[in-house]
Symmetry: C2
Subunit: 210 residues, 2 copies
């Protein structure tokens, strides 16, 4: 006896102002040819958090990003594990380097237009999106979706992509600067920017304990 356990990851990023999730196209059974969330069984002696971190690094090449346990599902129908511990992570698309492995090809998919997913992974994505929306409002999670420095409008587009509704520029500034989530760096952007603009940074790049 003993019920096998696995981890599954919902890895979000922002691509072209769209909230996107990392999916793999499975080459091997089960569900070959179908899209699914990355994940897999625990290695012998590995902790669950450890497995999630390892999988995240394997898929995106990044560590030191926001990664949090989401929920533990039951019977997702993959036949491999009846207990699936799901995590969600936020990565900066510019830093992530997707690596095709032998058994699947990874790709970013906008959450607004997901392909059909195997193993009831839709439920998992929906739940993660919900959680992300909530956390975005009252924490600094967005730090993990952007480079260290950024303009306020860039940050605002991230918020809009996740919350789905446009936001007034002045109110946004007040909220996010006034509450101390982000602060001015003193630097101004020149390269690539349309014109010189103040750069901001997160006051903390650690997940808030709340």
């Amino acid at each position: 006896m003993g019920v096998s356990a696995a981890v599954v990851l919902v890895i979000f990023t922002i691509q072209q102002d769209q909230l996107s999730v990392l999916l793999i196209e499975r080459a091997a059974q089960p569900a070959a040819g179908q899209w699914a969330l990355p994940g897999g069984a625990l290695l012998p002696g590995e902790t669950v958090d450890g497995a999630a971190t390892r999988k995240l690094a394997g898929e995106t090449g990044v560590a030191d990003v926001f990664l949090e346990q989401l929920y533990t599902f039951d019977r997702l129908g993959d036949g491999l594990a009846s207990v699936v511990v799901c995590y969600f992570a936020l990565v900066d698309a510019a830093r992530a380097r997707l690596r095709a492995e032998s058994e699947w090809r990874p790709a970013w998919h906008p959450v607004r237009r997901l392909p059909p997913l195997a193993f009831e992974n839709d439920k998992v994505v929906a739940y993660a999106q919900e959680r992300l929306r909530n956390k975005l409002v009252y924490t600094n999670v967005a730090y993990s979706l952007l480079p260290r420095q950024f303009t306020l409008t860039r940050l605002q587009r991230v918020y809009e992509a996740i919350l789905g509704e446009p936001e007034d520029k002045r109110n946004f500034r007040k909220r996010v600067v006034g509450s101390g989530i982000v602060r001015e760096t003193g630097q101004t952007a020149k390269e690539g920017a349309h014109r010189p603009a103040m750069l901001y940074e997160f006051a903390s790049r650690e997940p808030m304990t709340l």
Copy 2:
């Protein structure tokens, strides 16, 4: 291979205006003689939620109460399961009927004065308490800690026991009635009450989806 999974329950109630948690005194190994949270392995073919529901009913005799997955821990050191799916539940102490089983004796313990716990169960209780505090603020979870009808002061004492700080009576009324969490029943209490007092009830006795 295959990592065995188990569930653990943090069952809260209010006893003498104190937030309390159900502990069992283990008679069997491992950790015989120590206090711990109730829980156990999944039965063959059982879902994780199912195991939690079964354990809750077994310990307290109640069903139809607030019961929610809390977090999945790793290596709690019980040697039985390396993946432990924790749940938390809220029950009305007046309805619960604790049943001593052969292997342990259950009892309510005020969370302010817990005995030493086995298996790092302190962490689990602390986490559950945190979650309870958060949920109390913006949901109706308290419905599961009281009988159907109650006076406002009784409800207020529940809030104070959980949040740990006293609250102004008038403000409390405005919040909780004004926001539609509870409503007047029209009934007034006579039995046992100090004098006739309006009875209230929760607008919904379902967990809010938020």
